[in-house]
Symmetry: D2
């Protein structure tokens, strides 16, 4: 089962190219989970005092990804400005979280994985913004 399968059964057309939409919804879901785990893992590290900014940004990013994923899941009578605004904001939060986690990637493997996922989600958001662009 996948988000793509159920979106194909929706009575309305997708708000954007289906592949770009599905990828963004999926990456937002992965990124929310990854950031939630990374923040929790950082809080358990011996050097937690140097991880505080990473924790804060991971939690912010998880919240943005969660909201964006839900907003993108709705296809009915869409306001495309609303959808695009949400994705553009999510992109900014993913990038900020990636930059911070990259600084810790050498000494914490969960930060390396989290930064990679944030970059993937950032790209998926960027591609969807392009797909949602007004003609």
């Amino acid at each position: 089962m996948s988000v793509e399968d159920i979106l194909k059964t929706h009575p309305r057309p997708p708000i954007a190219d289906l592949a770009a939409l599905v990828r963004c919804i999926d990456e937002c879901g992965e990124c929310e989970a990854t950031c939630t785990v990374c923040a929790d893992a950082s809080s358990a590290e011996d050097d937690v005092r140097t991880m505080v900014r990473s924790i804060s940004l991971c939690l912010d990013c998880a919240d943005a990804c969660d909201a964006t994923r839900r907003i993108l899941s709705r296809q009915t009578d869409p306001d495309l400005t609303v959808k695009r605004t949400a994705v553009e904001a999510c992109l900014v939060l993913c990038r900020a979280c990636a930059e911070e986690c990259e600084r810790h990637a050498q000494h914490h493997e969960h930060c390396r994985l989290c930064a990679e996922e944030c970059r993937r989600c950032e790209r998926a958001c960027q591609d969807l913004v392009s797909a949602l662009a007004p003609a």
Copy 2:
């Protein structure tokens, strides 16, 4: 008890003028709740088929308000671009939801109340964006 009380006990300074910050956090909480009730009330109306866009926008707005409220509640080592981006996006979603609910305000009292709350939240976001502006 209020968000203001606990923010005053935080070891770090608030990310912006405390009154503007508290008002935005509070309005995001009110707006999330109001939009959640309004979407549910609209689904129970006899004319639900004309309320579908309102339901969709109320649910989108509730999600954005929820994420923004959490992001604004964190003061530790903030990335102000992240905070401002979240508030600016929330503002756009509140405005879109207000505009749609205003169209139904004459025949559904919950839409009138929801539109009012979305406008209040939009103003609180606007004021906080100003308070977060770079010098």
Copy 3:
């Protein structure tokens, strides 16, 4: 504006005694915000390494309060087992968070305030569970 005002305009009757329902929705909102701030404040404390369990429980509690608040905001064609289950779970999470934050109430004022709010939300959940009880 309040949740009570908009619930009174809902075309369906409330799922339980209105006063008990409104209080629980409001306390869940307060508790979500308070726990989010408390977790963030704890991460910024010098003794963060002793606050890790409190951070984890505050984040868990915030998530439960958020979900419960939304679930209680919906009055349309309710499944009362669903509603009661959500409130009973929320109550358990509020109690666990209160117990942990009470252990830090002497040295961190945000933990004292958070524990108080968790206890208030726990009581509001308990009262609503009673109001939702099958005859």
Copy 4:
């Protein structure tokens, strides 16, 4: 990238058997997305007036899955009663949503897919409850 990969890099042991934990986190994510799409799809159907209970239960289920997924993602200093309570509540909401969507599975393909996903998530919750059981 998967939740399993990043959980393996966490400095603390998982709160339960890793395979059962990962499956439950993953199914909660899938179920949240599926229920969000199904509620939105139902609101766009011609027979929306008969879908109102399904919409309400899908939204409740999505909220419970979202909170449970986050709560299960945290391994640090866990309160196992909290974790088990969240999963047990989620299981009840998935079952209720599955039962309602199954009633519409013949005429709406999204309800058939949603009911299937809710049943999968219910089973993953049940298996994790067993894995979390006190000795």
